[in-house]
Amino acid sequence: MTASPAQSIEKPAQDAGQRRTVVEAKKLSLTFQTADSPVYALSEIDLQVEHGEFVSFIGPSGCGKTTLLRAIADLEQPTAGSIEINGVSAHQARLDRSYGYVFQAPALYPWRNIERNVTLPLEIMGMPREEREERARKYLELVDLAGFAKKFPWQLSGGMQQRASIARALCFDPEILLMDEPFGALDEIVRDHLNEQLLKLWDKTRKTVVFVTHSIPEAVFLSTKIVVMSPRPGRIIDVIETNFPRDRTLDIRETADFLEIAHRVREGLRAGHSYDD
């Protein structure tokens, strides 16, 4: 284990209580140069994500929530401002493999079976074979796919594929999990189930999660902090902290607290829209 690039899944308990900034964006702006006119995707974003938080970006399409996530992942280059991950640049953080990214689509490689898809990052990082296989076993069990290691992605349902892609993002034990509408293409029943599973994973692994969604119930249910964004130019209009217990279940969606926060998110989104007109 000592030679591996990452440690075991269970973090030491003292980590949880400690406040430590993992993501810090200051005056972050990002402009896409298109043929006719520049598109202001992000404008003067200030954001802090603490260790162990579950942060959701919510907003209508075109509000830059995905762009912000991609800027954190160093998949987009900001045009102004700064962004730091654990005190280093996003670029360095990517080279340090400090985050696992879950895309909108599972992006599993069809020529690899599920096990070898999950071990792909470990192969890139040069982990020995036996350890890779052990990790794959462990994380496939974690996402309830233990019996499907030898199946090919196209033999699995969409929800199972997305779970495999989450296992792939977790298996090299990155500190941060970046998720870009991972359940957007799934039906609501599967989505609820995966949301619950994701919360359990988050609770168990003590990871920092940054999650992009356009579903209000999803954002409220999952998050410790909800970042409400509005489009043209993409900016943050509200940051809402929630205090639900870490081991919450879907039942909390019926509580008054939940509905109140959902209401505040909806108000925020509406305000963002009226500004646009």
Binding site: R97, Y101, Y109, P110
Partner: protein, 375 residues
């Protein structure tokens, strides 16, 4: 009642009965050849029976196919036994029309065969194209022999077969010279260099502007112009033919690989970027596997191009062995059956080569949507 009769079998029975009214040999009688008469009577009887009974079960179709096999054998014996100066009569051709109807119905029945045992199913699937091919050869044989087509224009398949079996040693030498040496060497070098240059073009983008047009130019060169030059450069033996094959196979491989390397999706590439993967890791873990369907396309195109290239190149100077050499000399000596025997060798070798490449494709790109259903 009439609507329930099997149409093809009715046609066969009617045609067969009509055939019996006309002489099978011009100026002859059916009774002159008892075997052929027997075949015709059996044909009429069986097709009449199945017209009434209907072709529903597998054994019905199988019986019809067996009837066709027996009848074609007798018909072939009959037509080859006709002496010189005599020609076939309309009875013979009507008989074959009836046979055609029966064959159609029988093969139709076997094509509809469905079995849960995959081995039987595969056998039935293989039978249909094979039967079709054999039937075409039979028609070719009776047409050439029956109408007395000069063998310089078109030899009968039987004659080509005799020549093929009688010249196995020469054909084998030619095959070794042309296929085992020129084609395989040229194919491996042409495809290999096309592939490597594609990687180079991908790694060094400015080469894309320089090398791709150049490769395009080379592939546009006419083979009849290039082949003599290659003979002057590399000598008479197989090396010059391999050089022609290299020129023909290089460009399809280059273009297909370059295109294939761009075939991976954006998400798949960003995934590797998020792992901070190197260029070579991205190439081997993602871009080459994603390019495989394109690369196999090039390998398949090239498998037939290579054979054509090598055979044509041998028209421009070669030692006295090789498939192209044999074709060009034997056609000059009017030995058209030998030319056809070489064509058979080329067809068999080309199909086998293509088949082997296809098998490799299926094994490696099994994940591609076009192959998934078959797993």
């Amino acid at each position: 009642m009439i609507a329930r009769l099997d149409k093809w079998c009715v046609a066969a029975a009617v045609l067969g009965l009509t055939a019996l009214l006309f002489p099978p040999v011009a100026g002859g009688r059916w009774t002159d050849g008892p075997e052929f008469l027997g075949a015709a009577v059996l044909l009429v009887a069986l097709s009449g029976f199945f017209a009434w009974k209907g072709v529903t079960a597998f054994w019905h179709s199988a019986t019809l196919v067996l009837l066709v096999i027996a009848a074609t054998a007798i018909s072939l014996g009959f037509i080859h036994a006709i002496g010189d100066g005599m020609t076939t009569g309309s009875g013979f051709w009507l008989f074959n029309l009836a046979l055609w109807a029966v064959a159609w119905r029988g093969i139709d029945g076997i094509a509809a065969f469905r079995s849960t045992n995959p081995r039987w199913q595969r056998l039935a699937n293989l039978f249909v194209p094979a039967a079709f091919g054999l039937w075409m050869i039979y028609l070719w044989e009776i047409a050439v022999v029956g109408f007395g087509v000069p063998q310089v224009l078109l030899p009968a398949p039987g004659m080509i077969g005799d020549r093929f079996m009688g010249s196995l040693d020469i054909l084998w030498e030619d095959f070794q010279q042309t296929f085992m040496k020129a084609v395989l060497a040229g194919y491996i070098m042409g495809c290999g260099s096309g592939f490597l240059v594609a990687i180079l073009v991908d790694r060094v983008p400015f080469l894309q502007r320089g090398l791709l047009p150049l490769g395009n130019l080379v592939s546009a060169l006419p083979i009849v112009g290039v082949a003599p030059i290659m003979v002057m450069w590399f000598g008479f033996d197989w090396q010059s033919k391999a050089a022609v094959v290299v020129i023909m196979t290089f460009f399809p491989m280059l273009v297909n690989t370059v295109t294939g390397l761009t075939a991976s999706g954006v998400l798949e590439r960003e995934l590797l970027r998020s792992y901070a993967a190197s260029y070579w890791q991205t190439l081997f873990k993602l871009r080459l596997p994603a390019a495989m369907p394109f690369i196999f396309n090039a390998l398949k195109i090239n498998s037939t191009l290579a054979l054509i290239g090598a055979i044509v190149a041998e028209f421009f100077g070669t030692p006295i062995v090789g498939m192209g050499f044999r074709i060009s000399t034997e056609v000059g000596r009017m030995n058209v059956d030998m030319v056809w025997a070489e064509i058979v060798v080329a067809a068999l070798a080309g199909s086998a080569f293509y088949g082997v490449v296809s098998l490799g494709e299926r094994a490696i790109t099994f994940w591609h949507p076009s192959f998934r259903e078959r797993r």
